[in-house]
Amino acid sequence: MLNVSIYRYNPEVDSEPYMQDFEFDTQGKDIMVLDVLEKLKIEDPTLVFRRSCREGVCGSDGMNISGKNGLACVTPLSDAVKKNKLVIRPLPGLPVIRDLVIDMSQFYAQYEKIQPYMINNTPAPAIERLQSQEERAKLDGLYECILCACCSTACPSFWWNPDKFIGPSGLLQAYRFLADSRDTATEARLANLDDPFSVFRCHGIMNCVQVCPKGLNPTKAIGHIRDMLIRTAT
């Protein structure tokens, strides 16, 4: 029997959060952490977590699994169980609403701050705007972000200043638009980022890279933003 220890907190009942232990029979199968939660929820309907696509593309079920942020649906037990124990906590650093569900408004607010949409006020052609394969290749590794918040909630700079530091996810998206040959707001975007917090709170410890379930590299993108800031300033 696998020992599963889960962070529990229901604001209507509990004065403070606690860890609850469950015994779980894996029947020797290497299933995903989300499957374990789904089965436990049959036994205990009060257990609460988010989930949607169950294939790692919607970004709903980011959580802290045995000490590492990840998506429950694509994390097999073989990667998560240590000494027959599975420990599941909500993503760290943001307020907990209930059990494994966190309040992500800070995270989304940072995303909105970078103006995550194409800005191009030149008249659009009758067909698509042309973009070379090389220009398009610059967006690879950027546009794939699923906003699961695994990276930003693994970042100490984001823990301490979630209202001021954009965080790895938002910065990855900031660079996605800076890097897009079709976007014309580069200067304005950069001007919005040149303060001591938004970008420069990144100290390059690369926790974000280590946990990203999509294998993306926010630290690298942040480096590119810094290079662009330097180039425009000099």
Partner: protein, 590 residues
């Protein structure tokens, strides 16, 4: 006592997926007070899982491509019960809608000329089926749905749409004229119930693939809009038409895009034979999805399946080379490694036909206005009620949807609904206010659930429902089996009505949501079962062993399921093309 808070909007859209957000974008740009009610944060909607692309004749791969050819393919793919006027509108308007998305920033893959990359998909042809395989599916690698959904969300942020994120629409509020005047919705985070009042209520609630045990659909695809419509007494159309996608990963159900076969992958049986050459000599692996899925099941039934239990076939990709796979199908590599423990660069992916898409839904016209059929068989608009996307049946997919047409459907008709509502609002919409009793009526189901004592576990009941649907209403169907299935469903209804609510708290109570979703699933399942049994022919995705031929004399029509008396009626297919004469039904071969 319906002493609940009222929130008022000009238009409210239920569902934050592709079609809902496209409609919302249109309305937000027009300046009308618009809200999107969505049970998950918008980018978690199921559109995000769409992989291969969005089919549209933008003449990038082939400069001579014509939208009329796309129209022909779609009509043929639909096995001739798609409404031709709607298909014409979709294929003709499509390029404009695609270019708008590109201008909004959608990161499409590119050709050497810098245009949008298009790949071949099943059922595509040039020159009305006479010019060979076409490549018409616009793609952003194999993450087109993700790219599209995020772009639409970004567009809505730019236009400051109001999002009621993690709110669940419970039921429709109808006034005394039987017009829709909003919904009762539940704020999942706080548990508060609110009457969201609106002059235009758009259902963009997506599909209900979770009625089946094996599905490519997300957990959230529970047919909430269909369930609400049926409970409100409104009919649904062609609901027996369920698409089984040929390539769901065996065991996990996860989708593997048709784009794999578009890029040159093919299916093999246990003897290593490329069996689609036998079933569809011309199109082979790129025949219609219904054709490929049935061929796969036949291979398995005839003992040529792969694996120890012979219960799946293989999708072979390794011959395409690692470089192509990395460039064109990176997401598939990831999914296959995670869920099939197979690296497509070296070995084939075990796949099996898996429930994927609901062709049926709330009948609408091209403006997204929901329809019902009166006693004389005439279409009648339901005031205040609109639908688009998978929840709607406009109907562009008929009995079988072509790959890549779902994303086009949701963009084109999300946009069309938005534009039409904008025009209606401008002209002025007068609807009678809902009375206390009307709101009360929409609260009844939720109140019943909240007051429940005892009852059975929702997950257990759901599993039972899914097994019945899988066993009796799958790829191949048979009258006596289906009757048995209907009897079993009838026995399940009271048990699901009295489902247990093991958690009565207010804060983020997902058990309450799952119980409500289960009731929606049941409504969809029952409508599917009764209608499937009634349609005594084989057409598109609806394949009956006891009626193996298409019956154009009796069934060249839509089925319409009326929930009040569980009656299956018929509605004529629209053959009124504006730009040319209609395509007459012909034998459908690939």
């Amino acid at each position: 006592m319906a002493n609940i808070r009222t929130m008022t909007f000009d238009a409210v859209i239920v569902g934050g997926g592709g079609s809902g957000m496209r409609a919302a974008l249109q309305l937000a740009q027009s300046g009308y007070k618009t809200a999107v009610i969505t049970k998950v944060f918008p980018t978690r909607s199921h559109t995000v899982s769409a992989q291969g692309g969005i089919t549209c004749a933008i003449a990038s791969d082939d400069p001579n491509d014509q939208w009329q050819w796309h129209m022909y393919d779609t009509i043929k793919g639909a096995d001739f019960i798609g409404d031709q006027e709607a298909i014409e509108y979709m294929c003709q308007t499509g390029p404009e809608a695609i270019f708008e998305l590109e201008h909004m920033g959608l990161p499409f893959s590119r050709t050497e000329e810098g245009r949008i990359y298009q790949r071949p998909f099943g059922g595509q042809s040039k020159d009305f089926g006479k010019g060979g395989q076409a490549a018409r599916t616009c793609a952003a690698a194999d993450r087109t749905g993700h790219a599209l959904l995020h772009t639409l969300y970004q567009g809505n942020l730019k236009n400051e749409t109001t999002f009621l994120n993690e709110w669940f629409a419970v039921d429709i509020v109808k006034n005394s004229d039987n017009a829709v005047v909003g919904v009762v919705a539940l704020n999942i985070e706080t548990g508060e119930t609110v009457y969201v009042k609106s002059k235009a209520t758009v259902f963009a609630t997506g599909g209900a693939g979770r009625i089946y045990a094996s599905t490519t659909n997300a957990h959230i695809c529970t047919g909430d809009g269909i369930g609400m419509a049926l409970r409100a007494g409104f009919p649904v159309q062609d609901i027996e038409m369920w698409q089984f996608h040929p390539t769901g990963i065996h065991g996990a159900g996860t989708l593997v895009t048709e784009g794999c076969r578009g890029e040159g992958g093919y299916l093999v049986n246990k003897d290593g034979e490329r069996f689609m050459e036998r079933y569809a000599p011309n199109a082979k692996d790129l025949a219609g999805r219904d054709v490929v899925a049935r061929s796969m099941v036949l291979e398995i039934l005839e003992g040529r399946g792969c694996g120890p239990d012979g219960d799946h076939v293989y999708l072979k990709l390794d011959h395409l080379g690692e470089e192509t796979l990395n460039a064109k199908l990176p997401g598939i590599l990831e999914l296959s490694r995670t869920f099939a423990h197979a690296d497509p660069v070296k070995e084939p992916i075990p796949v099996v036909p898996t429930c994927h898409y609901m062709m049926g839904g709330i009948p609408t016209n091209v403006n997204g206005q929901a329809l019902t059929v009166d006693a004389e068989g005439n279409d009648e608009v339901i005031e205040g009620f609109y639908a688009c996307g998978e929840a709607a049946c406009v109907s562009v997919h008929g009995a079988n949807r072509l790959g890549g047409n779902s994303l086009l459907d949701l963009v084109v008709f999300g946009r069309a609904s938005g534009m039409f509502i904008e025009q209606q609002l401008r002209e002025g919409i007068e609807l009678k206010d809902a009375s206390e009793a009307d709101i009360e009526a929409a609260m009844a189901g939720l109140n019943h659930l909240n007051d429940s004592t005892g009852g059975e576990n929702a997950s257990v009941l759901r599993a039972e429902l899914q097994t019945i649907m899988q066993n009796y209403f799958g790829v191949f169907r048979r009258g006596d089996f289906m009757q048995e299935g209907i009897t079993k469903l009838a026995a399940l209804r009271p048990r699901i009505k009295n489902v247990a609510l093991g958690d009565k708290s207010n804060a983020f109570n997902t058990s309450r949501i799952e119980a409500l979703e289960l009731q929606n699933l049941f409504e969809v399942a029952e409508a599917t079962a009764i209608t499937a049994e009634a349609r005594t022919e084989s057409r598109g995705a609806h394949a009956r062993e006891d009626f193996q031929e298409r019956d154009d004399v009796n069934w060249l029509c839509h089925s319409v399921f009326f929930p009040s008396d569980k009656r299956v009626g018929k509605r004529g297919v629209n053959f009124n093309l504006k730009t040319r004469e209609a395509f007459e039904p012909q034998i459908r071969t690939y």
